[in-house]
Symmetry: D2
Subunit: 254 residues, 4 copies
């Protein structure tokens, strides 16, 4: 039976690329995203077209019980989850406090922090029982510093990072690898960054910084590092690392 890699937040960016990368290495990739059945089908078909195993499922991660049901469904229907990637973002662009509603702030937390807690609560005890497993968490610069206009995003991501450390403290000694990956630059991801910026501006950026210039993060390359981290020997695990294009200023520099 194939090993299983569950991806929560599988758009045509990091999530989809990680699913594809693990499928190439023999994993059964389970791809979940909130909407766009067609886009999801395409990702699954791509993987299968290259001889991989994949399943696609729509998932509203903020709905009560949704994540818990998903974990149960995958574990009982497909098999034990070896690796899970939590890849939900909560970036809504810069907006001042006055334009950040209570609802927006709460939704950011539900997506970025609470959904991870729910996933961990549902899945990590199973991994603990098996004595192994990997939880990869895509995170953002907002997890380590709060910029202007990032009230919702930074609060949600800051919570995510501390939760990852707390999960790691409890579960690492039990054989479960928790990794918090700080993506500190712009990703070439049409489903998220593309929608945030608008198509025209996104294409201009792709033209200017992508196209072999490598100045925006290529999702397949991020996936390579995720795959490496997920397969580190347990004597040498990484809990936190950053990733950025070579021309991007790290968050700590001015």
């Amino acid at each position: 039976m194939s090993k299983i890699c569950l991806v929560i937040g599988a758009g045509a960016g990091v999530g989809g690329s990680v699913a594809a990368r693990f499928a190439t290495e023999g994993y059964h990739a389970v791809l979940c995203r909130r909407s766009d059945q067609e886009g999801l089908d395409r990702l699954v078909a791509d993987i299968k077209g290259r001889g991989g195993e994949a399943t696609g499922l729509l998932l509203d991660a903020t709905r009560d019980g949704a994540i818990e049901d998903l974990v149960e469904k995958v574990e009982s229907g497909i098999g034990p989850i070896d690796v899970v990637l939590f890849n939900l973002g909560a970036q809504i662009g810069d907006r001042p406090l006055a334009k950040t509603s209570l609802k927006t702030f709460e939704l950011g937390w539900r997506m970025a922090t609470f959904a991870l807690f729910r996933l961990a609560s549902a899945l990590l005890p199973r991994m603990e029982e098996r004595g192994k497993g990997t939880l990869l968490v895509t995170s953002a610069t907002a997890a380590v510093r709060g910029n202007r206009g990032q009230h919702s995003h930074a609060a949600a991501m800051g919570g995510r990072r501390m939760l990852c450390q707390s999960l790691n403290a409890e579960f690492s000694p039990k054989g479960v690898h928790v990794a918090h990956v700080i993506i500190d630059g712009m990703i070439d991801a049409p489903d998220t960054v593309g929608k945030l910026l608008g198509e025209e501006r996104y294409r201009a950026i792709q033209e200017q910084m992508g196209n072999g210039k490598d100045e925006i993060l290529v999702p397949a390359e991020i996936a390579n590092t995720y795959f490496h981290i997920a397969h580190q020997h347990r004597s040498a695990w990484t809990h936190e690392l950053d990733l950025r294009p070579f021309t991007s200023l790290p968050w700590w520099n001015h």
Copy 2:
């Protein structure tokens, strides 16, 4: 008219001491806490007994509209708030993931992160309009590292810290001082630490580490530093500092 210092989370520890300290310096202290009308009355009476001005109000900070109403009530009934101390904690003691319910986790966030966001949303625009004001936030080691058993607390406090940075980035240039204070040690606070530990264990610790040994944080001394921070000249503001007893190992040391 007196300047006003609003304290959200005014128990017989940091909150009450800060209220008393500011009242001594001529502020009208507005003390808010969730319950214990009697304890609240005692704090208010103590301040008045020493010639200070004080008002006590019960407040359930997690109730919809409660914080917004409070800010409106104080500003229209007493006067413009010069300094606000957000002093709500969310420490529930160490508990493993399996013992941390969804409800507990959400409550931690509502107390420690969301209530601060609500307070900021209600009050900071007023301070911005006045071109001055101070938001002091009591925080904890869990804001900078997630320990075992701290899933709820660390996630909530990590969100709090990043929110403070984001608020600071927007409001500092407008004259509003936001300070995030990391309390990195045990406080001599019967209303919170005392209840968490139980009376017997708490008394033993007081006996062993307090009583002139100064090995637990004395709230009145914390209040001295809060008062200093709130009165720094705007050319030299502190955003983050730590506080611990001289014999406590800082969080970064083993």
Copy 3:
């Protein structure tokens, strides 16, 4: 007998202001700087003119034995040192690696890291024996992140910060307060910043950002916070804090 505050690096900026502040509160201030006897005499005369006690000494902190001799001289000739401020900087302006000579890099370390180690080695055992004392260390953003062109400065300050933590770990439980202050903005300091920028540019900045606009750090205000930190109760000590003008972007923000 007066308490003694020794200032190593006493120019007409932070060092001189701290000396003056402590002298106002009854300390005998001992001011040391490398050169400019006249400037030093003026600082001493100013303090005395306002009724304070002060002594001025020229000191080449990089000379073998100089710091050790100073400590001995002050302790035996004036009295036990209660507070010492280590205020030597090593900022040389931004310069690329190719323009940073081995000699420059080594000198940065001798000034910013090694001199502090020498001071600590000479003085902290005496403070430990007395069960009290305070070591204040002026530090810079370069201690927490290395910017482009800061090879020498960042390496020296990064070493300084870790040394402060290590000193704190050993000496705090013995009653010696070690505080590391991150100055994260431009100081209105003619003897250091002024010389680095050149008189014309410095005056333009003073005109534009000082003059009641409070957008550059006022040394006397920094001194107020230093004085507060040095007098915190040992149940509530701060090891690290930042200071910046209200309009300065904190180092962690973009």
Copy 4:
């Protein structure tokens, strides 16, 4: 012609394993260490015995000109250096301030900070000219926090970390990848850890935590991650990551 990987600090631990790993992948490994010609020859012979290319050179990194000469010698005699691992440590075990001589402190800096600066000065301009290259730096927990008894080590490593950030800021946009790897646990390294602990205690630890228990870092596994980092696509580079055994408490936890 083979690509070249230069290892400075090539003992029978991380350095030797990285050399071997890169040699397996077709690199010519150049191994440098201060002493033990025999041990060095063994490492080189091992690599060659498995069909790899390797050269061994004794190097006193603290001697004036030694690193500069080495870089020149390798570049002109073997070829352009693609990857360099700076793997010199400066751990001397815990010792109080009173037992840390000026000479020890200075030597720590010469090994851990200054030697890296010399290497960077000699090699990075060459890499910049070629538009590519990788500088891997083995670092330690002491680079991010200063523990009791670590005065020399922490100061040297703190300087190292800030220097790495500064080098990265200048050279990353020019195509040179600088990575700072925080080894946050005990390594199974007889030449360094073994000597520090003494043979008997080291064997006991190997027995108790190694031997398939994976509770001490296995150098060959560290080398796998180093190799991955050195081959990341330039659109997704890591500057900092940590490595520790699954049962080791991360440095930020208590």
